[in-house]
Symmetry: C2
Subunit: 382 residues, 2 copies
């Protein structure tokens, strides 16, 4: 049976990994819409290869270029933020929401409002707009499949179980490149050192988030929205090998864990084939070759970011959106050499203290909070 698919953010790494799997199972899928931010040539190439019905470029100025690249193919071309949402609203069996950052929020909401099934890789949808998004999911009867490796692991462990039987959900964290560093060493850490992630090949922003453990804190916030077991039942554990992607303990003290290679194609495949399974090109897990799996309690004295995230979601309302915006500004300042590594979390905490607007009730209010939090954080740079 052929299923229809839209990929929001087709030219990024999650989009590429998704299309790699689709390419291996061409008969199973018909591609409806592919979108990209600004990479016209890659978008056009993919739209042609997969015979998409429509290709959308977010940067409207580049629409003529896209039209030209798709001339004679019969593939519709569109551009701009509104076109992105219209493409996301086309009914499909599965929407892969892989646009990075706040730009992904409106298209995700458009897909949610169709009541569809959305494989979610965009962090902001649940971090900045958590309550707004989950309320819309409930109202429109949409289904969220978490595509992040940790949340996908939890989702898999919960299959066949009831959320009320969960005693504890534990997110694993690699601990990042500075896991064994002292605070003094981290003070002097360079951007190059921070982006050298031991297990995953990722972009600069998320690599820095991994080094501060802010990434794990943001995932903690996401987990709270995806799996409503209560904050006291959510934990983080440091697991440097990144083989165990997360664990769920049930009230009977059975714990289920999901393990796998550090390759996004595994959780993506889980979403694509859900509730079934599909083949992926990875090698079998060889635990004897890996030898040891180690686990450590997190150290929030050296890595305060997870505490900030826990406090932000406890405070609720606008706090997670403020935290996320402040973190983006602080990480950019670190990457451009303006601040020390340890200032990232400190700046986020300062912004959270200075700026506490009321809870957003719509995506528009989320965006306004995001903008103001960025301004407030930039003021700390001067």
């Amino acid at each position: 049976m052929t299923r229809t698919l839209t990929i929001l953010g087709a030219t990024g790494s999650v989009g590429a990994s998704t299309l790699d799997l689709i390419r291996r199972n061409r008969d199973a899928w018909r591609v409806e819409a592919l979108t990209a931010n600004g990479n016209v040539s890659e978008l056009a190439r993919l739209a042609r290869e997969f015979g998409a019905a429509i290709a959308v470029i977010a940067d409207e100025a580049r629409l003529p270029e896209l039209r030209e690249a798709l001339a004679g193919t019969g593939i519709e071309a569109a551009g701009g933020a509104q076109a992105l949402c219209e493409a996301a609203a086309r009914p499909v069996d599965l929407t892969v929401a892989a646009i990075v950052g706040g730009a992904g929020l409106a298209p995700v909401m458009a897909a949610v409002e169709q009541g569809g099934t959305i494989a979610l890789a965009n962090k902001e949808a649940l971090v900045s707009a958590g309550e707004v998004m989950t309320a819309a999911v409930a109202r429109h009867g949409a289904t969220l499949l978490p595509m992040d490796s940790e949340h996908n692991a939890i989702f898999q462990c919960l299959a066949g179980n009831r959320i009320k039987d969960v005693a504890r959900i534990t997110l694993t964290a690699s601990g990042g490149p500075f896991r064994a560093w002292s605070l003094e060493q981290m003070d002097a850490a360079t951007p190059a050192q921070a982006v050298a992630h031991p297990n995953w090949d990722m972009g600069a922003k998320i690599s820095v988030d991994s080094a501060t453990m802010m990434n794990k804190g943001l995932e903690f916030i996401e987990a709270h929205h995806l799996f409503p077991v209560g904050l006291d039942r959510l934990r983080i554990i440091v697991h440097p090998q990144s083989v165990v992607h997360s664990l769920v303990e049930f009230r009977d003290r059975s714990t289920l864990a999901q393990l796998g290679p550090p390759d996004m194609r595994v959780p993506i495949a889980s979403c694509l084939a859900w509730p079934g399974r599909m083949d992926t090109p990875m090698q079998p897990l060889d635990l004897a070759a890996i030898g040891q799996l180690s686990f450590f309690a997190p150290d929030e004295a050296r890595f305060p970011a997870t505490r900030l995230c826990r406090e932000a979601i406890q405070a609720g309302g606008a706090a997670p959106a403020v935290l996320n915006a402040a973190n983006e500004v602080a990480v950019a300042a670190f990457l451009s050499g303006q601040i020390a590594f340890t200032r990232i979390a400190a700046m986020v905490e300062e912004t959270l203290t200075r700026y506490s607007p009321p809870a957003p009730g719509s995506l528009g209010e989320v965006f306004a909070i995001d903008r103001e939090a960025r301004v407030q954080t930039m003021l700390e740079l001067n």
Copy 2:
């Protein structure tokens, strides 16, 4: 909602662990039948405590004693092998099959023939009578819930998944007390050394089986019958901490694992509450306190038992029943000081070579093969 329960083998360790959990949830259960081999006083005490409808003692000579102990309680008393099967055939929501050894076969079959749900802790049902038993399960529409920690782990990992999507099932093995011993050291191993299991508190026979790794081989045979994925998709891995109880890898390279304390009450609770969950009195899993989980490939040069089991189930037919009987005789001979530890597997292999009867078609034929295999193995002692 109250559910009805029968425990075959109520006075053994699995029976006691089951009743410990029932005791904590008295309102959820009504006990129909409790049975024991020869421990009349404990059986009568339990039957009174749990208000059983009937108590059955396998040793018929002790029936008068049981009658006396239950006088005036209104609890029916019965004795002998036939009474055991009649009690097992009474319709209940769940039968816990925890009789140790060949004596458990006929009562398990009686429960299977009612088409009921059977939580299976008896090894022989699937090792010696595998095809006979699984054919009866299919014919009568019975449901087997595996109660062994490893098979229960696999069962939990398969929830919400399809058997056809399984790429590999991996049984974990502690490796036993001789995991790091040389063959020469094992030659001189004493019964006291062999029964000192590092993680689980078990009887002498099963402790020796753990030391030879025959126990894991027998579980391999059971897994083959419970989870028909094919022998090439079944593996054993050595994991000395016994925290991960088994793993299932799917075709997409997601692996699910079940972890928990080395306490039989966890898998028992999983069977009692299936498909839900119930509370158990154990502590939460603390991976940071455990620190390291290690994994090794099994060494079949030092531990040939798993190879013998794999070959026996590959040969099929009567071979697993012959292996199991030969092993029981050899272990008894080792425990009584008649043979060296390393002779156990050697004797089993000799019996398998010398005696290869046709496949049993009934429990009666299984018993005949078992008896003859014991005789054949005892001949090797002289």
